[in-house]
Every structure is written in structure tokens, then in C-alpha cells.
């Protein structure tokens, strides 16, 4: 699995645009978190890459129907999303304790970060290949 992720990241890094790369990584992460092949994702408020290239993700407009909420900002989050799993797209989103992890670009490089306790809180177990992205 590690090799698969590494190969995937390498391939999309080399050949895809940043938006395609980001969408590919989001797909991989969200499918792993939800353990679904076609996770229903609510986007707050907009994330261009995933909207433009949704891949296997099923974008929903009602957070009630979502498996997970993907954030471009933590402000003005609809109340119905409060009980949902939240995943950020910036490092700063992690300051919100309800956000279990984030995928973001820093210095032109893709970064993935999860917090162990927050994953535990939502009873989420990730594949060991994600271990290097998990922080205590």
C-alpha cells in the first residue's frame, strides 16, 4: 500500500497539474477515511481542485447527506456539519479541534497531516501506510 501511495504520488506529481494532483490526493485520503469507494463529500465553501476533478468523490450539497465535510475555511460552517467528520485544506484548519486532518500545499509541496486523538475520537483507523502522516 505504501508503495502504491508513493507510486501514485510520484506519477501524479510528474504528469498532472497541481489541481489534478490535489484532487487525486484528496480522493485517496477521503476514500481511506470513509472506507468508501465513492464517499459523499460536502465542500465548505469551495475547493476548486476537487470540484473541477471530483474523481470517485460524490459531491453533495447537503451536509446531512455527507460522509465527510471538506473545508476551505472553518468559518461559518453549517451547524449540520458539526457532527460530521471534518477535513481541512490548510495547515491552519488543524487549529480547529474538530478537524481530524488536513491536506495542504506548502512551499510547492503537498503535505498531509492527521492527529491521532482526533482520528480516535471518530473511531477512524487508517491504513498503516498513512502512519507517517499521523501526529500525536
Amino acid at each position: 500500500m505504501i508503495k502504491l501511495i508513493a507510486a501514485f504520488l510520484l506519477i501524479i506529481n510528474v504528469y498532472a497539474s497541481d489541481d489534478k494532483k490535489a484532487s487525486g490526493i484528496f480522493n485517496l485520503i477521503l476514500k481511506e477515511i470513509t472506507k468508501k469507494e465513492n464517499p459523499r463529500v460536502y465542500i465548505h465553501t469551495n475547493i476548486y481542485s476537487i470540484e473541477q476533478y471530483p474523481g470517485d468523490i460524490n459531491i453533495v450539497t447537503d451536509c446531512n447527506k455527507a460522509d465527510i465535510a471538506l473545508l476551505s475555511t472553518t468559518k461559518n460552517l453549517p451547524p449540520e456539519c458539526n457532527k460530521k467528520i471534518l477535513f481541512g485544506s490548510r495547515y491552519s484548519h488543524l487549529k480547529n479541534p474538530n478537524v481530524i486532518g488536513s491536506f495542504f500545499w506548502q512551499k510547492g509541496r503537498p503535505n498531509i497531516l492527521f492527529y491521532k486523538q482526533r482520528l480516535k475520537k471518530h473511531n477512524i483507523k487508517l491504513n498503516p501506510s498513512f502512519d507517517k502522516y499521523i501526529e500525536d
Binding site: 490548510r90 510547492g108 507517517k132
Partner: protein
């Protein structure tokens, strides 16, 4: 019959030069690209080295200040952290986009200690995890050396360097510097204009090459078309003229073919039928000859065939085969079948003729004989057997004469009209028969021409000239036929024979004789110029007679004109001769060309010639050709 056309020298030069130039420009372009890469690498190394030396100093400062407690100290002293981050940011410059300090924790994860990034979205927090995309960070820890990688997959970054911060040979952190892609672009943009110029020149050259080859192809297609008779699709007369410029008839027999009563076909059935008959007859002739034979439509219903390298018997068999093939072939026309017959005249040895026109004339005479003999037959030149046997005999005689040293040179004085002194001697070839009688060259040279014996005899003459010039101080004249000038073997004999004697070359005049009209002055001029460059003087013999005319003076760089004896004879009584010689003398003076009057035999002739300011005289009056040198000619 699909004979390829001779390719000119200019074309060969052009065909070689143009691809060479193209290859050269491509080579220069590729070399430039290589050089550009080298320059690029040098600039890159220079930039990296410059920054690395700064990182090295900074690293020393860190280790001196913090020792092994770097992470702990920075964590516990926010002011110190801020101070060192600011200090690190001073090293960035325009080339580095991101500059940061990482360390590896117990879980082997890389984390930020310092980050000089100003953009808040890109700036990492203290101790934030760093996800490595390459293995340079691990390597800098394990190898304890500077690591450099090109960021092929990150769009805004060019190169990343990882510089290990060490204490006692133990790596405690890594300084990371991401060089901005802007630097790469700046270097590329600096070098690009030159690269473009080279690229455009190469593309231009390749396009020119393609265009040139297309033009050459079209030229040769058109040229070939101009040599093909549009009706019968065989060569026309123009091709024959072109072919004969560069080829000899030595290996051919010549046939003239004429369709019997062809006019009646045209008159009775119309020209369309006439054309069909011509095409059909050509097809029959083509079936009867071989690929290496040449079939030419010589006139309306007249054809010429050059049969390549056959015996007389085979040649006659081919002629009969052609005649039978045409005679037995029924030509289908709209209403009826037409049977044509042809008459053929054969000249089996066309190369013995003085020139090509003469060779055709002989074949044409036989064609005429065939016509008056009732048509539909083959007639061969009656001189064939005689010529053949005479030729064989002559070649044998000359070979024997060479073996028995009976080939000699006689010398005839050429005397100056200005000081009555012998200016030079003309060498005249002589063969002594077995009885010791002199055989003049005209009796044996035609038979041996185009044979190796002719080359051997020329070598003997050249050896005579060399020997005579070495042993005497006077000048010599040596005769060469125009065909000799065109013959590479003979030209090499002359050049090689005199190669080591530049002084002797200056005392030798080459008199050029010819018995057919020059059609390709370019080649003759080139050959004559090459002889003149070596120091030889060039004279035109028999000027004013036959083919030797004023055209030579327009095209060739001549030193001496030898006025033909036919104009000198009776010059004292024949006004026409007088005026012609006067004109030649006057014209030559203006051109800076010396003149020699040949065959001066009487005092009256000599007086007139002297009055016309002719420079030199030669003839029985001044001295007959002799194997001894006559040093006291009569010139009163």
C-alpha cells in the same frame, strides 16, 4: 536504353557542398546546445557553491552557539528563535525561494526548526512536520554531505539543496534551500536567443537543401524530357549531341534506319496512322536491340542505332533482325493491317571517321545504297574489311616500330622574322618502316587512335621533348591533338613527365591540332588553363583553316597562332590570302598573341610575310624537318 545522363561537375560540387553545409550547421547547432548545457551547469554550480558557502558559515555559527541543544534551546527561547530565523533569511537573496532548517525526530520524521518563508500560507510553524518528496534529506543525514536535487515535479522550484549541520561528525539538523525556478528561466532566457539563431540557421539550411534538391530534380526531369521524342518516347537528336560531348564512338557500330515509303502512309492514311506506324516500328526495333544499345529518332522517319561492342557479324545479324522484325509485324490501324519495311545502312567502325558527322555520312551513304538497291535491305560500308585489316596491320606495325626504336622525332626550325634567329624547333613525329623509309604520322596515327599504342607513342614523344630540352637551351614545340587534351591519360603523361622540371616547361610550346569542331569550350579551357598554370605555352596549329578559327581566341588563353600553310602558299600572288593573313596578324598583335607563318617555301612568300609583321616563319625555305638541328636557317 534507359541511359543515365552525365552529371556536370558543378552539380557534383553543389550536391556535395550543400549537404556538407547543412551538416556543418547542424553540427554547430548541436555543439552550441552542448556548450549551452555546459555553461548552464557551470552557472548552476556557481550559484549553489555561493549559497553553500553561506550555509556553511551559518551552520558553524549554529553549532558554536547551540551545540547539541539546538532544538531545545530554540523551543525554549522564542526571541532567540526569531533572531536566528531573521539571520537565516538574510542568506536567501533573489535566487532562493525557501530557506529553512529541519531536524529529524525520534520517529524519523523531519520537522521544521526555522523557516524564513514570509508568505503565511507557505510558512511552517516550529516543529511542524515536513513531508519529504525526495531522499536528499535522509541522505544528508546518512552521508553527512551536501545533497542536491532538481525539482522536476514541483513547478515553482528548480533545485533543492540539503546541507547537513554537524557537530563532531554527527548531523543534528539540515539546512534546506529551494532555488526558485525564476533563476532557471533567467539563465535559459539569456542563452535562448543564440540557440534560436543557430536553430533557425539550421532549419533554413535544411529547407534550402530540400528546395535545392527539388529544383535539381525538376531540372533533370525537364532536361531528360527535352531529350525524349514525345511521339516515340525514344531519344532525340538533341540527346545524341549531348551524349557525344562526353562519350566516344569507339565501342559502337552505327546504323541508319529509314522507313520505306513512309510518305505514302502519311499521304494515304493520314498523320495519325503515320504516327502509329512510327511508334509500332520503334517498338519492333527496341525488341531487337539490347539495353546498352542507343536508339535515337534522327529525323522524321529516320532512326539511328548505336550498337554497343559487337563484332561485325553480330552487328549485321542485329541489323537483319531489326529489318525482319519490322517486316513481319502487322500494324493494326482502323481499317486495315499495314506492313512496313525498312532500309538500313551500317557503318561498323564509326570511330575511324574524322568526326561524328562523317560517321553518319558513311552510314547514310549505305542507307542510300539500300534504298537504290530496292529497299528493305541492309547495306554495310564497303570499306569495312579494308579498314579493319589495314587498321590491324597499322597497329601491329606501330607496335613493332616502338619495340624496335623506329619511332623518332624530326625537328623543324621556327625562325624569328625580327632577328633571323632560330627561335625554336617544332618536333614532328616520324616512324621508320623496316626498310628505313619515313612514314608520315597521318598514315599511322588514325589507325592507332583510341588504342593504348597511341598512349605509348605519346609517351615516347614526351620523353624526346624532355631529353632535347635538357640537352639544349632552345625552345621546342610539341603537337597534341585536341582529343589528347581531353584524354586524362595523356594529360597525366604530360604533367607527370614534366613534374620535376618547371624550367623545361617554360621552354615547351604545346601546339594544339584538331580535326573536329570544339563543342565544349569549358572543358578545353579548363585543360588549357591547367597546362598554362604549369608554365607551358599554348599554340593553335593550322589557324585559319577548317575548324581552327577566331572562336578560339574568344574562349581560350592562347600564346601563339600558327597560320595555316594554305593561306601562306601563294600569299605573294593571292590577294585574298594576303588580306586574311594581314587581318590575322593585326588581330593577334592587338590580342598580344605571337604569330607563326607555316609552310613558307619561297623568298617572295617570306618577303610578304615579313611585310605583314608576322613574328615567326617556318617552312622548307627555313629548314626541312630533320633529325639534326639546323642552326643556320636562311632568312634574308
Amino acid at each position: 536504353m534507359n541511359r543515365s545522363f552525365k552529371i556536370g561537375r558543378n552539380f557534383v560540387i553543389f550536391a556535395i557542398l550543400l549537404p556538407l553545409m547543412t551538416l556543418l550547421s547542424i553540427f554547430i547547432y548541436s555543439e552550441y546546445v552542448k556548450t549551452k548545457d555546459t555553461v548552464f551547469t557551470i552557472i548552476q554550480e556557481h550559484l549553489i557553491n555561493e549559497k553553500v558557502s553561506l550555509l556553511k558559515n551559518y551552520s558553524s555559527k549554529l553549532t558554536q552557539r547551540f551545540g547539541n541543544n539546538l532544538q531545545e534551546t530554540l523551543h525554549n527561547n522564542p526571541d532567540l528563535y526569531k533572531h536566528y530565523e531573521e539571520e537565516l533569511s538574510l542568506l536567501k537573496g533573489a535566487e532562493i525561494k525557501y530557506l529553512y532548517l529541519l531536524y529529524k525526530d525520534e520517529e524519523n520524521k523531519f520537522r521544521y526548526l526555522l523557516d524564513t518563508t514570509e508568505n503565511i500560507d507557505d510558512k511552517a510553524e516550529f516543529n511542524q512536520k515536513f513531508d519529504p518528496q525526495t531522499d536528499i534529506w535522509e541522505k544528508s543525514y546518512s552521508d553527512k554531505k551536501l545533497q542536491v536535487t532538481k525539482q522536476l515535479d514541483l513547478q515553482t522550484l528548480w533545485i533543492t539543496v540539503a546541507y547537513p549541520v554537524k557537530i563532531d561528525d554527527k548531523v543534528i539538523a539540515v539546512l534546506g534551500a529551494d532555488f526558485t525556478y525564476d533563476v532557471y528561466e533567467k539563465i535559459v532566457n539569456t542563452l535562448k536567443p543564440m540557440e534560436k539563431i543557430y536553430l533557425y540557421v539550421s532549419i533554413f539550411m535544411i529547407i534550402m537543401l530540400i528546395v535545392a534538391y527539388i529544383l535539381i530534380y525538376l531540372y533533370y526531369v525537364n532536361r531528360k524530357r527535352s531529350f525524349i521524342d514525345p511521339l516515340t518516347k525514344i531519344y532525340n537528336r538533341q540527346y545524341l549531341n549531348e551524349y557525344l560531348k562526353t562519350s566516344s564512338l569507339e565501342h559502337y557500330q552505327l546504323m541508319m534506319i529509314d522507313l520505306d515509303h513512309f510518305k505514302q502512309i502519311n499521304d494515304n492514311y493520314g498523320h495519325d496512322v503515320g504516327d502509329k506506324v512510327l511508334i509500332s516500328v520503334v517498338e519492333q526495333i527496341k525488341k531487337s536491340i539490347r539495353q546498352e544499345d542507343i536508339l535515337v529518332r534522327f529525323g522524321g522517319e529516320e532512326f539511328l542505332v548505336l550498337i554497343h561492342k559487337q563484332t561485325l557479324e553480330t552487328c549485321l545479324t542485329i541489323a537483319e533482325r531489326i529489318r525482319n522484325s519490322v517486316m513481319t509485324h502487322k500494324i493494326d490501324t482502323v481499317n486495315k493491317h499495314i506492313v512496313m519495311t525498312i532500309s538500313i545502312g551500317v557503318n561498323p567502325f564509326p570511330f575511324y571517321a574524322k568526326n561524328f558527322d562523317e560517321a553518319i555520312k558513311i552510314a547514310d551513304e549505305q542507307l542510300y545504297n539500300a534504298k537504290v538497291s530496292g529497299r528493305n535491305c541492309v547495306k554495310v560500308s564497303q570499306e569495312v574489311n579494308k579498314s579493319q585489316s589495314q587498321t590491324s596491320k597499322r597497329i601491329g606495325d606501330v607496335k613493332s616500330a616502338i619495340d624496335e626504336n623506329r619511332i623518332l622525332c624530326a625537328y623543324q626550325p621556327i625562325v624569328s622574322t625580327h632577328n633571323a634567329q632560330t627561335q625554336k624547333y617544332e618536333m614532328l613525329l616520324r616512324l621508320l618502316d623496316t626498310q628505313g623509309s619515313i612514314v608520315p604520322p597521318l598514315e599511322f596515327l588514325p589507325a592507332i587512335r583510341h588504342t593504348n599504342v597511341y598512349i605509348n607513342i605519346t609517351k615516347i614523344v614526351i620523353d624526346f621533348a624532355l631529353k632535347t630540352l635538357k640537352e639544349n637551351s632552345f625552345e621546342l614545340s610539341m603537337n597534341l591533338d585536341l582529343q589528347d587534351i581531353l584524354n586524362d591519360d595523356i594529360m597525366n603523361l604530360v604533367k607527370n613527365g614534366f613534374a620535376e622540371y618547371p624550367e623545361l616547361r617554360k621552354r615547351l610550346t604545346i601546339e594544339i591540332l584538331e580535326h573536329e569542331e570544339i563543342t565544349n569550350f569549358d572543358i578545353i579551357k579548363e585543360r588549357i588553363d591547367s597546362l598554362k598554370e604549369l608554365g607551358f605555352k599554348i599554340a593553335i596549329d593550322d589557324f585559319g583553316s577548317g575548324y581552327a578559327n577566331f572562336q578560339y581566341l574568344l574562349y581560350l588563353d592562347i600564346d601563339i597562332l600558327k597560320i595555316d600553310g594554305s593561306l601562306i602558299r601563294d600569299i605573294n600572288t593571292n590577294k585574298n590570302s594576303y588580306h586574311i593573313v594581314e587581318t590575322i596578324g593585326s588581330f593577334a598583335k592587338k590580342m598580344g598573341i605571337k604569330t607563326v607563318a607555316e609552310q613558307v617555301e619561297t623568298m617572295n612568300e617570306l618577303k610578304v610575310i615579313k611585310s605583314l609583321n608576322i613574328d615567326y616563319v617556318q617552312g622548307y625555305l627555313l629548314g626541312k624537318p630533320s633529325f639534326e638541328f639546323d642552326t643556320n636557317p636562311t632568312l634574308q
